[in-house]
């Protein structure tokens, strides 16, 4: 079941450059929340702070408080344990090239020491069904490498892989930016279904996409969270001038 996310006074740096400034936000469970803003505004950094992927980059650090459900992300829990409960889908599809399609989906379970073959097969099937890939790959999933699929299929494979470890939150960092409109449509449909089960945070450059899939939208600019509200409100009657300028295409 999806859980809510509370972020308080989150700051993030790359070396001496501050990428996020005092972010406070409450993300509702079992909903999709979009993060928009111009390039370099810190939206990717923001989601990468939620599962502590930010700190895998040399010289990068973050301060502040992030709570996912009852879990205190930056206090007393290891980054590895956090990431098991928060799935992530990246901008470019990144299946493991040496593994089969099945192996890719099972990777999260196997690499974390899960050995029950029957259960693994069940979870793989369920995850592939979730990501609407099952029908396309069920006959080839043991023989073909994950890298042999098309870009859109690879991205849905990556979603299935993230879902297989049964996370509570799914972070998506521009998941459709490398895909054509048809694949994009499929993934958006998927997001619609997934938010019944998971909390979704999606970074996107595409404002139509934000308005299509998300109930809430946050607008970032130069490392600050300018405005966070219901998606409808952001796109129709934003309360900040800068938000209005951005969504009407005056900059960014």
């Amino acid at each position: 079941m999806g859980v809510g996310i509370q972020v308080e006074h989150l700051n993030a740096w790359f070396g001496k450059t501050q990428a996020l400034r005092d972010i406070n936000i409450q993300i509702a469970g079992n909903h999709a929340t979009a993060v928009i803003g111009p390039s370099g505004c810190g939206k990717s950094t923001f989601v990468r702070c939620l599962n502590r992927m930010h700190e895998t980059i040399p010289d990068a650090r973050a301060t502040g408080r992030v709570r996912i459900g009852e879990l205190d992300v930056y206090n007393g829990t290891s980054a590895v344990a956090i990431r098991r409960r928060i799935g992530m889908v990246f901008q470019k599809p990144n299946p493991f090239p040496t593994m089969s399609i099945f192996g890719n989906v099972a990777a999260g379970l196997r690499l974390n020491g899960f050995r029950n073959r029957k259960r693994t097969a069940e979870i793989v099937e369920r995850s592939l069904r979730y990501s609407a890939l099952w029908e396309e790959v069920k006959d080839i999933m043991h023989k073909k490498s994950g890298a042999s699929l098309s870009g859109g299929q690879q991205q849905r494979l990556c979603i299935a892989r993230a879902l297989a470890v049964e996370p509570e939150v799914l972070l998506m960092d521009e998941p459709c930016s490398a895909l054509d409109p048809i694949s994009t449509g499929k993934i958006e449909e998927l997001i619609f279904q997934l938010k019944e089960q998971f909390t979704i945070v999606i970074v996107t450059h595409n404002m139509q996409q934000a308005s299509r899939v998300a109930e809430f939208t946050g607008f970032f600019l130069l490392g600050n969270l300018i405005e966070f509200d219901k998606t409808e409100k952001i796109f129709t009657t934003p309360s900040d001038k800068r938000t209005e300028d951005y969504i009407t295409g005056r900059f960014g």
Binding site: N51, M53, T56, P58, V80, A81, I82, R83, R84, R85, G87, M88, F90, K92, N94, P95, F96, P97, T98, M99, S100, A107, G108, L111, N112, K143, K144, S145, A147, S148, C158, R161, A162, V165
Partner: protein, 296 residues
């Protein structure tokens, strides 16, 4: 050509490719082909000459018997073949894990001054003359054991393998895109597990190439074995006893004054090359079994 193409719009489609462009194309293609032939020629020549000179002396006795005393015809290099296999086995079982381990460290954790120091050391070690490596193994193993031995020979060759494998492993791991590591981290896989099960596995074929390169490089080495393995006219399977090796045997036979020994030296050289080629092919075939179809 389709009508709507840009070249057609610009009125260029009717222009044939100029003779000058075609001439350049042909020239460069043939130059590349010539380069390939120049690369393959020495290899073919060496192998052909070895077969020509050596094949006549290869018979069942050569492959199954140890050398006969001077003047007695017949005998073979079976003990030297076994010795080479033994010494290479020892060298690989030290050299491969240490080399790969060091390569992993350099690629995944070694972005610091200590890493640079290791990198520099490996490059210098790679350039150390093999005879000097032999002296080091002599000092380390032979003197402390008070014996020439297969172990000492193996250690000498391992020392030569390590820097080659280390640098090759590092290069190959660095070629693995960071997005693949991130995918594993994102699944909650720990860093060491990611390195072993994802990064190293993705780079497997490249790492194997590095290992094979190192193996082939040391398989024919003679100098480091002169005062470590030392050579032996008889069978030996003990790690702490002097052991024959093909390269040593070839060396001794080639500088001898006997025609019979010269012929056997040629045959030994042929066997050595075949041994190297066969083991490289075996490893390649074994490794390609585990690979996924369609993986790049």
């Amino acid at each position: 050509m389709p009508e709507h193409s840009v070249t057609a719009e610009l009125g260029l489609s009717a222009t044939p490719v100029s003779w000058w462009r075609r001439a350049k194309n042909v020239t460069v293609t043939f130059a590349a082909l010539g380069a390939v032939i120049l690369v393959l020629l020495p290899l073919g020549a060496v192998f052909g000459y070895l077969v020509y000179k050596g094949i006549g002396s290869i018979n069942w006795a050569f492959l199954t018997q140890s050398p006969k005393p001077v003047g007695e015809p017949g005998g073979g290099m079976a003990n030297a073949i076994a010795g080479t296999v033994l010494i290479l086995g020892i060298a690989s079982s030290f050299g491969v894990p240490i080399g790969i381990g060091a390569g992993i460290y350099l690629a995944e954790y070694g972005r610091n001054r200590f890493g640079n120091l290791i990198r520099f050391t490996a490059d210098v070690l790679n350039g150390v003359p093999s005879i000097v490596v032999g002296i080091v193994a002599y000092g380390l193993v032979v003197l402390s054991q008070r014996h020439f031995s297969a172990l000492a020979g193996g250690v000498a060759l391992a020392i030569m393998m390590i820097p080659i494998i280390t640098r090759a492993t590092e290069e190959m791991l660095l070629l693995v895109p960071n997005t693949v590591r991130e995918a594993a981290y994102g699944l909650g896989v720990s860093r060491w597990r990611t390195t072993i099960s994802i990064t190293l596995r993705t780079a497997t074929s490249g790492v194997i190439t590095g290992v094979m390169l190192a193996f082939a490089r040391v398989a024919g080495e003679t100098a480091p074995l002169l005062f470590t393995a030392f050579g032996n006219q008889y069978w030996n399977w003990k790690l702490n006893q002097p052991t024959a090796a093909l390269s040593l045997q070839i060396f001794v036979y080639a500088i001898s004054p006997f025609d019979e020994w010269h012929r056997q030296a040629w045959a030994g050289a042929l066997i050595l090359i075949v041994l190297i080629v066969v083991s490289i092919m075996a490893v390649r075939i074994a490794a390609s079994r585990g690979m996924m179809k369609g993986a790049n």
